[in-house]
């Protein structure tokens, strides 16, 4: 075993699970697993790929540990956490050992980390369900831009496919160049490059309702109760650029 080995996967969930499966089988304790995208030039490390043909037995095995366990694994994968692959590796390793009670064993560092990361992802997904702002396009499509810390587009897609079932909408994750398109009861998530903002024309009533919303937002605050700190806690500034009602505030603060 060489301590400088770096294990490479193609960035997908399946490929990562596959890599982890082989590492566990071969009893290798990796110090680094990294996606092709995040690979940095490193003279001292020895880059290896470990994959075998797609195998769903391992996936089933993980799902059988418990539904919640598997969800947490997936949440960690969606997170922006550095070394998330290692957290997943150790969480899975111990999950196979301890079974369904694994999610209560916070004493283990990897369990504690996995649970915290999962919470962090879910919390952001929940917040964004509220903070996403659609704008209506000429084509009657509704379009929203987001740039979340974690990859929560899937969570949002599942939420809006029920809520806005009879509309057509798109959510564009600018940070990851992912575009979710929903129309006629189905959504797909695709990778897009250089999707220009200017490609879209807004519908004629878009400005009117955006203005009404800004008016409402300003009016509903009670000035005697002003509490900027509370607002910032509940609605961190990183989300403001995509929220129509905050455009004036952003100008003020720069």
């Amino acid at each position: 075993m060489n301590n400088f080995d770096v294990y490479l996967y193609d960035g997908s969930f399946n490929n990562l699970l596959n890599t982890i499966e082989i590492l566990i089988k071969e009893k290798i304790r990796p110090i680094k697993i990294v996606s092709e995208e995040c690979l940095e030039n490193d003279l001292f490390s020895n880059i290896k790929k470990k994959t075998l043909s797609r195998n769903s037995i391992f996936l089933k095995k993980l799902q059988n540990i418990s539904k919640e366990f598997f969800k947490i694994v997936y949440d960690v994968y969606l997170s922006d956490k550095q070394n998330k692959e290692l957290i997943m590796y150790y969480f899975i390793l111990n999950g196979l050992k301890y079974g369904s009670k694994i999610i209560y064993l916070r004493k283990l560092k990897c369990v504690n980390e996995a649970l915290n990361v999962s919470n962090y992802v879910r919390r952001e997904a929940h917040k964004l369900k509220g903070f996403v702002r659609f704008r209506k396009l000429e084509t009657n499509f509704y379009l929203a831009y987001i740039s979340p810390t974690n990859n929560v587009l899937g969570y949002l897609a599942n939420h809006f496919k029920n809520r806005l079932a009879n509309e057509s909408w798109m959510i564009y994750d600018l940070k990851r160049d992912l575009l979710c398109i929903y129309t006629k009861n189905k959504y797909i998530i695709i990778t897009v490059k250089d999707l220009e903002k200017n490609d879209f024309k807004f519908s004629s009533d878009e400005l009117e309702f955006a203005n009404l919303w800004q008016t409402f937002y300003k009016t509903i605050a009670i000035k005697e109760r002003k509490n900027e700190r509370c607002r910032m806690n509940m609605m961190p500034k990183k989300y403001w650029p995509y929220m129509i009602e905050m455009s004036d505030e952003i100008e003020k603060s720069y």
Binding site: K101, L164, L212
Partner: protein, 401 residues
């Protein structure tokens, strides 16, 4: 008058209602627009830090009542406006599709008569539900004095219906809101309670009390809210620090709304609903008001120091809840984890239990966080007060900027 002007007037007059929650309903999207989210979703936060979940507006701010504390009272010379049902639907639908809001909160001043106003509200909500097939969350304010059959009709269309009790005693109500009486309000609550079902006000009812406009004690207020919870199974009672909008010889003149007092009442409200406390534990006729410097739970713990320190690894779930700084989330985590191993201070930190307060009241595997001799009233009280004041200093700095 433009839609924007109307929205300005009618949102401005609705903003004093504290309720904006959108939780508790499981309404599904039935081939239309929208659904309810059981946990509720906040869509934005205004500069006062309050969550914006619903489009909170009045249908009209015209009113035949003359409640002293209310900005919309008949004797005030303010600009009046009226939304048509169609206008309300257009704004709601268009806001909802853009994901600005979770639904609609509709209240109204009383025009012509309670029944007339009620009919207008029903017309609006029917349009929204039936013509626009809107399945999002709707909270309406029932109009005191409206007929029972109208209440039932409106209730069958919405997720939450509520009536504000406004003041903790009938005498204050008579003084400040001569057109309202408590039994008009409780009659509405009774009807909602009797008819509540999956298809009738499924998210339950709430109410609101103004704090600091009259001279009732916190004890009076808590007695009233406990009464409402028990008798009418309310989901929430909101406490709203009085903000002087009118000058009247019956009203106190305050510089700042009593926000801290409001906060203490909410804390106590939570203790009673989720932590198995009774009013007698927190207040009595000798101490009818909450300590502004110390939260009610820490205050209770200090007065009952003989029950502490509690061993985290042994005491029951209900006892865990009595430890300052530990709530249902932390208590559940402690209970589910200690089955598998003995908890130390570090493990509690890992669980995300906040020890700032809790550390003074607990033992972890037999150990106090510092030497045992420090476990005494004065030491704990001083440190709790100190920690609160450190917070306050930071807050003051932030506000002065």
């Amino acid at each position: 008058m433009s839609i924007e002007e109307k929205l300005k007037i009618l949102a401005d007059s609705a903003k004093y209602d504290a309720s904006c929650s959108s939780s508790g309903s499981k309404r599904e999207n039935n081939n239309g627009l929208g659904n309810a989210s059981f946990s509720g979703i906040c869509h934005s936060f205004s500069s006062d830090g309050r969550c914006i979940s619903l489009l909170k507006i009045l249908m009209t701010n015209c009113c035949i009542f003359d409640c002293k504390y209310c900005i919309n009272r008949k004797s005030n010379e303010v600009k009046r406006a009226l939304f048509t049902p169609e206008e309300i639907c257009q704004i709601t639908i268009n806001f909802y599709k853009r994901n600005y809001i979770e639904g609609l909160f509709l209240s109204s001043g009383i025009i012509k008569s309670p029944d007339y106003t009620m009919n207008k509200l029903i017309e609006t909500i029917t349009l929204l539900r039936c013509k626009y097939h809107f399945n999002g969350y709707i909270h309406v304010k029932a109009i005191p004095g409206a007929s029972n059959y109208l209440l039932k009709k409106l209730g069958s269309l919405v997720d939450r219906m509520s009536a504000n009790i406004e003041l903790p005693t009938n005498n204050s109500l008579k003084l400040l809101a001569p057109d309202k009486t408590q039994d008009k309000v409780t009659k509405i609550m009774q009807t909602i309670k009797e008819n509540k079902s999956k298809n009738f006000v499924s998210a339950g009812q709430s109410s609101q009390m103004i704090i600091g406009a009259t001279n009732e004690s916190d004890l009076n207020i808590m007695q009233m809210s406990t009464n409402l919870y028990n008798r009418y199974q309310l989901k929430r009672v909101f406490y709203s620090a009085y903000i002087p909008v009118n000058k009247d010889r019956f009203l106190p003149s305050l510089k700042m709304p009593p926000l801290k007092r409001e906060h203490r009442l909410y804390q106590a409200d939570w203790l009673i609903r989720y932590y198995h406390y009774k009013i007698e534990d927190l207040l009595d006729s000798n101490n009818p008001n909450f300590n502004i410097l110390l939260d009610p739970k820490a205050n209770w713990a200090l007065r009952n120091l003989d029950k502490f320190p509690m061993e985290i690894n042994k005491v029951s779930y209900n006892d865990l809840l009595k430890i300052p700084g530990i709530g249902p989330t932390s208590a559940k985590k402690i209970v589910s984890n200690r089955k598998f191993y003995t908890l130390e201070y570090n493990d509690l930190k890992k669980l995300g239990v906040v020890l700032k307060r809790a550390k003074y009241f607990i033992l972890c595997n037999g150990k106090y966080f510092i030497s045992n001799e420090y476990f005494n009233y004065n030491f704990i009280q001083n440190h709790l007060l100190l920690e609160d004041n450190i917070d306050k200093k930071v807050q003051l700095c932030l506000f002065n900027e």
